[in-house]
Assembly symmetry: D2
Homo-oligomer: 349 residues x 4
């Protein structure tokens, strides 16, 4: 059956498997001290034009959020997040398990607004020192793309950075699907911008062609003290760190990371165009590799007979928001087949 | 340069890379719901003759210890461990980071003795309810092989199980290198024994031929409630769970797991024989894939010019304990070369 | 200056100081094993008609919430709370510091509605096992009186108990100001009802005439295992536990606890009546010892010259909600004086 | 029955009860903002000649250790403690519950030796950055008096301070019974020395005449950032902070704190002298208010018929170490009576 369920239903981009095979017998030290990690970090620094950046590799996205956020927060701090932020709803309480509160703020299509952040902070600091019986806002968490596939524009990020700076809050940007953001033609945000406008960001591998792995970038060499030991303590240090290093080395060679993502966005655009022609509304204006059509419950049920997708949420009693997702492995043929099904089911409405 | 530094200096056994390549494009659900995880669990249940076992896959050994132990302990419980236990010294305080104390007990060559455990527990329960201002001993942690490569005999495990049972303590056996234990000719402990004599044990993949991954077995379907969500919360759930499942599926097909380990132990036996002929003492009587010769500081320095090994600890002012380690990738040729070097350096002493 | 800032601005009810003086030289064992704790627990069991209740004494309200909730929750559980619940906003992230998320629900005047709770739970359990990537709702937290001084009616509590029971959730009722609830003439909820309708509740001493201290009641002998040691571990076990025991022994002798509260509610009623005559609106319909008048910013400023009160929140640009609070130490004279000031300032509006 | 079980079997020194009674109706702000806390802090600063000191009041000793240590440690740090340190054995795992390991070092009569600390640190830093898979030693914890009633000499403290400084470790001294140290004639360590030689120390009230309460002193204004909020988050902030402030205000007026302790030490000296005359050996050379005679099991049993004492530990099969403790409430008559009993039971041996 056709599956557009997510961007992690297949294995890895073939170049990664090739690289694993080629280097398999080369002895390397463990725990991230191997030459592939070193090389991958070098390439990421270059791509971000951040020569002083600290770069670490961690196995998954929740792991990354959990470790980065708890390492950057002070003891009595919480993290400001859009209410829809991945850390607030879909990580099983990972942040709270480290002892910190997620301070959920209103969002628009998954995005925070600088004015809303400023208003929250102004209230907290109405008393000059901040209200001492409440959780202190200790950092700003953003996702890019968001959980709804939407993107910040550069001036939106700049405004958020500005307000965070006024209140001395570091900014962490969760880039679990960052490749798709970078590869979206209408987006004006580059890796270099992220290195300038955040204090830490992650570059997701798992959902952009790797078997597993996220790169964590502290762009100004500003990793928390003893961050390596913290990764170890939290159980996230792989003995064969080479597995992560080699994948990012491959992804950041000859622009593979963005090529993979660009292909997926192009296929998503084709699906979006077909849905548009069929008059299917979109729940959110996502320009990346995730698409959120609103279908009648009947159409959704009919589609489920032929295509694996993700049920996202109820739109109203009669309609559902579903999610279709493309990836490095989404071929023209698969998309043609999907569009044919969509036309057949939705064409006669 | 020759490297016997550890059993994780190379990539994965070639069968694993093959399996990854062959299944790369097969769409699978995420988060461990894929068919490879299901199949691997089935094969592990069969190998353990534990048809009701709960089986989970986690990326690394410290991660596994951290999650399993904290999930099995009650709020005020600590974990009894040999002082040399991996959790006590080499995991960056991973257990304590979950809020629990490691209660370190005296060891012999890395092993706990049932009598020492009983004496500790009898003291704690001198007051029938246990002393309420102290950390309660809540479970028993063992490693097999130990950090020194030594093994429990079946009657030693049985005795530990017995005393743990008397005090209602579950037993968790950390098998980060379990394959080498199972493949050691002189050992009488089988997977089936472990399923019977423990409440949980891990089957290490990372150090026995996998890229990464440990299987966690609760042999009587006795996984802690909501253990899956706990893995997620702790950041240890891989989106592409297939990567773990497929590796264990491969390792538990046609006895590959034990074959890999048996080869490594055989090569270690050759090195041990050569060291014996050279009259080099061993710091501990390890029969598995780790060897701990005691060398003079001069010999150790000379050896370091030609072979990468691990410095283990100072034996005395003039001598060092070093560790040599074999793996699935240790060939006859590599061992021949090592033995030649050893004879050259140590032969004339 | 007149102060109606809170119910903890004075020391203790004189009977408590007398009891401390009288027993001062009587040797007693430490850590809550003294005879006063035993006697206080006996009297509380009798007052609740809960002969099997486990009763503990803890120094403060946040301490109590933190310890009780974290002891009752499972590892991956969060606590359902009205968004205005004390644990969600005013305890510095105490619950999260124990690793658990506060799942904030909409409220009305500080109260949860059974229908809203049922709707949340039905959504979570749409998938029969509950959504495994999300925090599990693990218990229900209520305050009575609420942070707004409002009270649950017995049928409201019964409905909440019903829905909690359907989903196997324990109910914990935070009674930091419980005395005022019990002493409010219009309330139909008794200690006996609480023992029947909750799995745990606290009886606040600090804000009802004690120097410090809260009693925690597990009405069916259902205290979490090793709760005593958990109190110790969390640093909340007083060496001179007698100080807590003696105070509750005194408060639960001859109905002193309710007498103290009844006096305060009566004084609050006098103030409410005066405000009503003056046409001052109330932000919430609190019938207990807290009063929340809405004043123009000018009137609020004028009042602040003569009376210490608590600024509660902005009502709109021109108006403020303030809080006035009575206690065991609020005399007729003090209230007369306050009413005179209120009439002078607000009379001519 | 005569009780020498501990120094917390009675209530508070009468001056404290008087002060509570006298100030009972004076309205004061809550949460430590009252004038008694302010005054007590001022007097403590003066007594320590530490005009910039930050002073906080916390309800109990374990609470204090738990909060101070976890606030001062970095994320991956552990605390160096003598193996007999209160935090290592008798606080129910309080430190570990905050995520940090207690790194237990060998002791002599409860005391750490600067050379042993230096040796541990030199090993850890054999690799210049410290071994990154292990818990980092992050601070030094001492008790004074120790759990065995023994005291550091000023030059011992100076040596410990020196080695800690070399490795950039803060020193925290747990003074749960500090008064008795200050009042011991043979001791050369003053409050002023502690302010100079530590980064934080506590001044115990509970065991030196208060109902409850410990003062925490950061002598150079070096309290961890947002320490007040951390106290709140950990549940240790009393609403009626006045109760703590007033007690320390009283204890630090006219030298009451040391007077109380001096009386207790004098009575302990009388008991020590009597035991000496009777030829009873002492398990440790404690010069403070705790005495640790070694009795035959028969004598211990006979004594238990007439005097309440604490069983400390088994000395050998035939002998027990017991503890006798004096306090502010130990009168000449009580000690006369005890000595008479001791002579009767032990005299004819």
């Amino acid at each position: 059956m056709l599956s557009f369920a997510s961007d992690y239903i297949e294995g890895a981009h073939p170049s990664i498997l090739d690289a694993l095979a080629k280097t398999n017998l080369v002895p390397q030290p463990g725990y991230g001290e191997d030459e592939y990690c070193r090389r991958a970090a070098e390439k990421i620094r270059a791509a971000c034009r951040a020569p002083d950046a600290d770069v670490f590799f961690i196995s998954g996205g929740t792991q990354t959020n959990r470790i980065v956020i708890s390492a950057m927060l002070g003891t009595v701090d919480g993290v400001l997040s859009p209410a829809t932020g991945h850390i607030n709803g879909h990580e099983g309480g990972a942040i709270e398990s480290t002892g910190h509160k997620v301070l959920a703020l209103p969002h628009r299509d998954g995005k925070l607004d600088a004015a809303a952040v400023r208003s929250y902070l102004a209230d907290f600091y109405a008393d000059r020192e901040g209200y001492p019986h409440m959780v202190r806002p200790g950092m700003l968490y953003l996702t890019h793309p968001t959980e709804y596939g939407t993107l910040y524009a550069k001036d939106e990020l700049t405004a958020l950075r500005q307000v965070a700076g006024e209140y001395d809050l570091p900014v962490f940007l969760d880039g679990a699907r960052l490749g798709y953001a970078l590869a979206t033609p209408s987006s004006d945000v580059t890796l270099e911008d992220l290195a300038r406008l955040t204090d830490c960001f992650s570059i997701g591998g798992t959902k952009v062609g790797a078997l597993l792995g996220e790169a964590v970038v502290f762009p100004r060499g500003n990793a928390p003290k003893h961050f390596f030991t913290y990764i170890k303590q939290q159980g996230a240090l792989l003995a064969k760190g080479r597995v992560l290093g080699l994948q990012f080395d491959t992804l950041f060679t000859d622009g593979l990371y963005q090529k993979i993502a660009a292909g997926a966005v192009r296929q998503a655009d084709r699906i979006r165009a077909a849905l548009g022609e069929l008059g299917v509304p979109s729940a959110v204006p996502s320009p990346t590799n995730q698409i959120f059509p609103v279908l009648s419950n009947e159409d959704a049920a009919a589609l489920a007979q032929e295509v694996i997708y993700t049920f996202w949420e109820k739109a109203d009693e009669g309609h559902a928001v579903i999610r279709l997702c493309t990836s490095w492995a989404t071929t023209d043929e698969k998309v043609d087949a999907l569009i044919a099904v969509l036309r057949r089911i939705l064409g006669g409405r």
